[in-house]
Structures are given as structure tokens and as C-alpha cells.
């Protein structure tokens, strides 16, 4: 993509298709400010942000994967792997345990990346393998049990309030958003990701390192999933491989797509992804607050996904 094209894309880029998510987010927030009592309280804002943190972190990696026309179904299982590893290695001290947990996530991602980039298995099948096996591995590590973590450092990551009363996880998510944003917009790697998604054959013909880039992309997704796994474990004070990150791949994919990144690849919207995650979280919270049941809230979410993709459908093929 030349700078001229980028500029042209930027000029023509502001539309309901690409920026509708911000409008929708604005509408939901406005609705809540008007009609939901105790919405604009610090406590509630904190709660919503803490709850959405793991989804945002996972969705950032997913957005990069989707930009390469891929998909990563294994992120929830990777979260479970990271959580189980964290609990298993906590005796060696929190820093080492976290490092090992993150490493395991990156390794899981590398594995996916090799299957997609080198063996050239379709991403959905390649990551389906770890989707099924990963949580099993995590349960093997944890001997099928929930493991409480008493380490004070890990606990404080999840509970201690920092600036503005927000827990560390919120700041981690924020920093990662900035890092990924810079990565995709200003680095060669980011441009390669988009080029590969746009046309893998063209990227290969142009001499781009498609294989290493793909491996790196899935490693990044695995690493971010591990971060989410550590954060979720720290927040709940226990590693629960059966349930941590369960179905988060669906939430993450939803956030990415609602945020304006087409599943067909070749494009990425980092801020849109974060906005997409916030939007789905707020919609869910709003519906629950207005006495809709969990079941109804899911159904409404489904309709919103369809509507969002309907608006974007011009770009999806």
C-alpha cells in the first residue's frame, strides 16, 4: 500500500461502515446517561472497564490475525493454558511464573503460526486443534482442578487500585492498545500484515516474508491471550482452566468485526476493535440493567452483530 493510497483510503474512510461503531457507542452511552440510574458513577465505569479488559486484550491480537485474513479460535484455550501454567509455577516467584505463562502463550501461538504459515493449513482448522487440545492440556497441568493463588503480587495485580482507582489490568489493556496501534500503523510489520491479508499471493510475489510474518502474527495473538489469562487469574485469585476464557474467541471476533475490520482481511482497525469490545460490553450491561434477562441480552447481541455486519457488508467480499 503506497502512502497515496493510504491517504486516499483515509479521506474516503470515514463512513457508517468504518466508523459506525463509534456512533453506536456514543448512542449507547447517551442512552445510559439519560435513562440508567447510577450509570455515570466511578464505580460502574471501573466495573465495566475491568470486565471488558480480557476481551480487549484478546481482541487486539485477534484483529491482527483477522487482518491477515486469518482467525484464531484457540485464544480461550491459550488463556486457560497460561492460567494453569501460572498456578503451577507460582512457587518460583510471581515474576518467573508470569514470564513462563506468557512464554507458554507465545509458544502456543508459534505452533498455530507454523501450521498456518509453513504447513499452510487454513487458520480456522489449524487453530481448532489447539482450541480442542489446549484446554485439555491446561486441565492436565492443573490436574483438572481449580487452583487458588495466594501469592500477594499476583493478587495485587488483580485487586489493587492504581491511578483513578483502576486495577492494573485496565492500564495493561490501554498500553497494549497503544502498542498494537503503533505497531500496525507505523511499522513495516504492520504494513506486511495488511498486505498479506489483502492478497497473500501478491505479497509472496512481491517478496514479502509471508511465512515469518504469519508465524509472528499468531505468536502475538497467543502472547496477548496469555496476558489476558494472567489478568483474569489475578482478578479472580484462582486459576480455573475449565472456565477461564471460555467462548472469549467469539467475543473477540465479534469485537473485531463490529469494530470495522473485515473478516476477509487486508484491513485493520485497532481503535475500532477496542470500541467494538466496549460497545458489546455496554450493550450487554445496559440490557441487564434494564431488567432484560441474560437470555434476552444474548439474543439482542446476536441481532446487533447481524445489523453491524449488514451495514459493513459492502466491504466484506
Amino acid at each position: 500500500m503506497t502512502t497515496g493510497e493510504a491517504a486516499a483510503r483515509w479521506r474516503s474512510g470515514i463512513s457508517l461502515r468504518t466508523h459506525g461503531v463509534y456512533a453506536a457507542l456514543g448512542i449507547v452511552i447517551a442512552f445510559n446517561l439519560l435513562f440508567t440510574p447510577n450509570f455515570a458513577t466511578v464505580t460502574n465505569v471501573r466495573l465495566q472497564l475491568v470486565q471488558v479488559t480480557p476481551i480487549v486484550v484478546v481482541a487486539l491480537g485477534m484483529a491482527v490475525v483477522v487482518a491477515t485474513a486469518g482467525i484464531d479460535l484457540s485464544v480461550g484455550a491459550t488463556m486457560a493454558l497460561a492460567a494453569a501454567t501460572l498456578a503451577a509455577t507460582i512457587d518460583r516467584g510471581p515474576a518467573i511464573a508470569i514470564a513462563i505463562a506468557l512464554l507458554v502463550g507465545v509458544l502456543a501461538g508459534l505452533f498455530n503460526g507454523v501450521l498456518v504459515g509453513v504447513v499452510r493449513i487454513q487458520p480456522i482448522v489449524a487453530t481448532l486443534g489447539l482450541f480442542i487440545a489446549g484446554r485439555g492440556f491446561a486441565l492436565m497441568i492443573a490436574d483438572g482442578r481449580l487452583t487458588e493463588i495466594f501469592d500477594p503480587t499476583i493478587r495485587s495485580i488483580g485487586t489493587k487500585r492504581l491511578v483513578g482507582g483502576f486495577q492494573a489490568g485496565v492500564f495493561v489493556a490501554l498500553s497494549l492498545t497503544v502498542i498494537i496501534g503503533v505497531l500496525v500503523r507505523y511499522t513495516v510489520f504492520g504494513k506486511r500484515v495488511v498486505a498479506i491479508g489483502g492478497s497473500p499471493d501478491a505479497a509472496r510475489t512481491a517478496g514479502l516474508p509471508v511465512r515469518p510474518s504469519l508465524i509472528l502474527v499468531y505468536a502475538l495473538s497467543g502472547g496477548l491471550a496469555a496476558v489476558a489469562g494472567v489478568l483474569a487469574t489475578a482478578r479472580s485469585g484462582a486459576a480455573d482452566p475449565s472456565f477461564v476464557g471460555l467462548l472469549i474467541e467469539l467475543s473477540a471476533i465479534t469485537a473485531v468485526v463490529v469494530g470495522g475490520t473485515p473478516l476477509a482481511g487486508g484491513e485493520i482497525r485497532v481503535m475500532g476493535t477496542v470500541a467494538g469490545a466496549l460497545l458489546m460490553q455496554l450493550i450487554f450491561a445496559t440490557l441487564i440493567r434494564h431488567d432484560l434477562s441474560d437470555a434476552d441480552a444474548r439474543m439482542v447481541q446476536a441481532l446487533i452483530i447481524v445489523a453491524a455486519v449488514y451495514i459493513q457488508r459492502g466491504r466484506l467480499r
Partner: protein, 339 residues
């Protein structure tokens, strides 16, 4: 992979004796299709050697067949959708929804208990197919929304999961899940019948040819004058219907409808289809492979159950690694064949 779908005008009569789709002809897809069968034989042999008559007895095989029949019914529909180049993520939720609806509506009699879930799931499938076929929305997202919607509806019918509806013991619909005919469970007969019907539909009818053509090249199919949108609507309606049927059967088997069942079943079905040699990119594949894939997953689970000390998560690990190995082998063999 050589894409050698024979271009046929839609007006042609269904192929007679040479009905097997041309894609089966190439050596590559022959290897891909039979790989799962070979592995299945090895795994069964392994089971016989390791566990002897504890594994190889009619009672165990009969249980295995019934346990696999629900996934088989769902995987049949999934095979059609995947060959057409699509995907259906909603079937696991449809399965749960159908189970809940079957138990709920059995209060009005067995006919209602059977018809309501199947029709509801078929309607949801029809809506998904319309969004995909008519509006050109991506199947992955549409059926992801369907997954959420159907699961939400299942929870709604069961009061957010707080109520588990039961099927009264004297309703005859429970026979569909619990009875045996000629020593084989009714769900198995239903799955086998659908498998036979599916084989005919896929390999001997115009619809089947259209499914292969659309999966091979959608643009070419449009140019050939195939009614792509209509075919897609039919396919997603069928997968919904089959998901509903499987859920109804499982409710009949357990005399209850649980809203939490079937999580991840869609991915298990996809795994079975892929292990069976059907390409996720569409245009090639078959139902025999899918049935082999379903049985393979079932046998692995059964063998792990035989080892008393192993737990369900061990089965996940084995199944997942298995999927990766089979697909890796298929991909590498396929590439070598091509070059």
C-alpha cells in the same frame, strides 16, 4: 489440490453411474478421503489389542454408535455447508435449543415435542441462509450470531437455565431416543438413513452438483446460471433442521432438555468433517469421510473411557492433537501430489 469439478449446466440430468463427483477421482483426494478410514482401522485394532473384549463387545459398540449418532446427524449437514464453501457455527446452540424445545413442547404431546424443535431450528437456519445467500453476508458471522441467538432462546425457554423441562415417561417420543430396533438404537438408524439420503442428495442430484460447483467457484456458478442464493438457503435450512433433529433425539434419549448441552459441538462437527477429508475451502469432499471422522472421534473417546484413570480432558488433548496430525498429513500429502 487440483480442482477438477466438471462444469455441468444445471439442466443436465443427474449423473448416472459415474455420479461420484469428479473431485473423488484424483489421487490426492482419494488419499485424503481414505486417510481417516485407515487411521480408524488402526485405532480400532489398537483398542482390540489393548482392551480385548472389554472394548470389542456388542454392548460397547452399540453404545458407541448411539453416542456418535447425534454428532453424525449434525456433521452430515455440516459437510454440505462446508463443501459449498460455507460454515455453520450455530448447530451446537441449535442442538441445545431443540433439546429444550422438545422437552418443553412435549407437554402438548409427542408430535409437538418432535415438530416444534425441528421446525424452529429449520426456520432459524432458513433466516441464516437468507442473510448469507440473498444479502451476501459472511457465513461465519451470520452463524456466529445464530449461535448466540439460539443459545439465548434456549436459556429463555428454560428460565435462564433454572428450569430443566422433562419429557413425561409415557410420551412415545422417548422411544426415538431409547428404543432399539434389531439390537441397534433408533438414533443410529436415523443417522444411517440420513447418511444414505445425504449420499444420494450430494452425489446423484442437481442440488449436490450445485453444492460442489458453488464451493469450487461461486463466481463460475453464478455465470453458469446456478441459483446460488437458493441453494445456500436450502443448505443452511437443512443444517438447522438436522441440528434440531439431533437435539430433539438427545432430549428423547435423556427424557429432558438441558440448555447447556452442545457447547463446542459445532467445532467438533467441523473437526469430523475436516478429518474426513472435506476441504474447508469448499468444492471437494464427501459424506463417507465425515462418517469416518465422526466414528474416529467417538472411538478415541470410547478408548479413553476404557482406561479408567483417564479423564475427559485427556480425550480433548488426544482429539485435538489428532486433528492437527491428520490435517497436517493431508495438507503435506496433498501438496506433494500437486507438485
Amino acid at each position: 489440490m487440483t480442482s477438477d469439478i466438471v462444469a455441468r449446466t444445471p439442466g443436465d440430468p443427474p449423473l448416472g453411474d459415474i455420479a461420484a463427483p469428479a473431485s473423488f477421482g484424483s489421487v490426492t483426494s482419494l488419499i485424503r478421503q481414505s486417510a481417516a478410514g485407515v487411521v480408524l482401522m488402526i485405532v480400532v485394532l489398537l483398542g482390540v489389542i489393548l482392551f480385548g473384549s472389554k472394548f470389542a463387545n456388542t454392548g460397547n459398540f452399540s453404545n458407541l454408535a448411539v453416542a456418535s449418532s447425534f454428532l453424525a446427524i449434525i456433521a452430515i449437514g455440516m459437510t454440505f455447508v462446508i463443501i459449498s464453501g460455507g460454515i455453520d457455527l450455530s448447530v451446537g446452540s441449535m442442538y441445545a435449543l431443540a433439546a429444550v424445545l422438545a422437552a418443553y413442547s412435549s407437554r402438548w404431546g409427542s408430535v409437538a415435542g418432535i415438530v416444534v424443535p425441528i421446525v424452529t431450528c429449520a426456520v432459524i437456519g432458513f433466516v441464516q441462509g437468507s442473510l448469507i445467500g440473498k444479502l451476501g453476508m459472511p457465513p461465519f458471522i451470520v452463524t456466529l450470531a445464530g449461535l448466540l441467538f439460539a443459545r439465548g432462546l434456549a436459556f429463555k425457554v428454560s428460565d435462564d437455565g433454572n428450569t430443566t423441562h422433562l419429557i413425561d415417561r409415557d410420551r412415545w417420543m422417548t422411544n426415538l431416543g431409547q428404543e432399539r430396533v434389531l439390537g441397534v438404537g433408533v438414533p443410529v438408524w436415523i443417522a444411517l438413513t440420513l447418511f444414505g439420503g445425504g449420499l444420494v442428495l450430494l452425489n446423484r442430484t442437481r442440488l449436490g452438483q450445485a453444492v460442489f460447483a458453488i464451493g469450487g467457484s461461486e463466481d463460475a456458478s453464478v455465470l453458469m446460471g446456478l441459483r446460488v442464493a437458493r441453494v445456500k438457503i436450502i443448505l443452511y435450512t437443512i443444517t438447522g433442521l438436522l441440528g434440531g433433529l439431533a437435539g430433539m433425539l438427545v432430549a428423547a434419549r435423556s427424557s429432558s432438555g438441558l440448555s447447556t448441552i452442545g457447547g463446542g459441538l459445532e467445532l467438533e462437527a467441523i473437526a469430523a468433517v475436516v478429518i474426513g477429508g472435506t476441504l474447508l475451502s469448499g468444492g471437494a469432499g464427501g459424506l463417507t469421510g465425515t462418517l469416518t471422522g465422526v466414528l474416529l472421534l467417538g472411538v478415541i473417546q470410547n478408548l479413553i473411557n476404557q482406561v479408567g484413570t483417564l479423564r475427559s480432558f485427556h480425550q480433548q488433548v488426544v482429539s485435538g492433537l489428532f486433528l492437527i496430525m491428520v490435517v497436517t498429513a493431508q495438507t503435506i500429502v496433498g501438496r506433494r501430489e500437486q507438485s
